[in-house]
């Protein structure tokens, strides 16, 4: 099995791509954390949802 050789652009933009990847991972973590908090404390229960609206 062989992989194509990296284009010069991959090396040049490695830092930028790594930064974007880490940002996305952090964002996923935050959304997951928020979801866990909101579900466990019952923000989305029908009665609470009605009060919020």
């Amino acid at each position: 099995m062989s992989f194509r050789e990296d284009h010069e652009l991959h090396g040049r933009r490695f830092g930028r791509n790594l930064g974007v990847a880490l940002t996305l991972v952090v964002f996923i973590g935050i959304v997951f954390g928020l979801t866990v908090v909101k579900v466990t404390r019952g923000d989305y229960e029908p009665e609470n949802a009605r009060i919020q609206n």
């Binding site: 933009r13 830092g15 930028r16 930064g19 935050i30 928020l34 908090v37």
Partner: protein, 312 residues
Amino acid sequence: MSDASINTQFKTQEAGFGDYFALLKPRVMSLVVFTAMVGLLAAPVDVHPMVAFASILFIAVGGGASGALNMWYDADIDAVMKRTQARPIPAGKVTRDEAFAVGITLSVFSCVMLALAANIFAGLLLAFTIFFYVVIYTMWLKRWTPQNIVIGGAAGAFPPMIGWAVATGGVSIESILMFTLTFMWTPPHFWALCLFMKSDYKDAGVPMLHVTNGRRSTRNHILVYTLLLAAVAIGMAFTGVGGPIYLTVALILNALFVAGAISIWRRDEEVSEADGYKREKSFFALSLMYLFLHYGAILAEATLARYGLGGW
């Protein structure tokens, strides 16, 4: 000149992740994070730590997005002023189009995410803050009136109100007073900077007060705004976010700040030039500590209140 040459006139080299991050004005973002955090923690409603963390992060991203849009619009004057020549667009690392794309995307993203994480009112308040900074201040006031920094300073004063809104879902007298503290602090802070930055704003054609009305008038304005600021800052001690710690800090800092403003007011240009604007520079440095310590004192009162201490 073609459109393409306008859009790429500053771009000369590959941008790294840090260059895009620099578009968000990290130093301004740190002030936004701190004041928003104080506003959130000083509110009389507990917020789950995860919701608080995410909300502060989205407020910071929103503040950063408005910074990117400011750099997009002001690229021409940033290239002229020494203080801003190293920013990513004039330095040739990021194009104006890229800065605009980053700014718009993060603006929408941060407001929607804050509305989902905290509440719709907080999201709308963040949206209004971005609108105020980009459209009212950057596009309209900055190049038009010497009162630009007075009215435009409101944009930097909203974060503690947004933090308060994250916790309470609304506005109250305490959050309006925190807004007023930063709002009244901004003019003397910036005008002191203008006095020793000399020709930077003049070269860029920005009608700052010292360019249009002269340096004597700027010194007068610094004193008047500092006296008004002192009244607001000390008055806050007797509201729900104040207490004996805050009052002590406010009395000391405002005594120093008013003394500094009087000193600047009594000097003329010859005296200032002779000692390299020593008093103006120390007043500017004090202004940074002034805001940090006032919000620090509010945070101390709020923290102690959780243990039955703090406040009156």
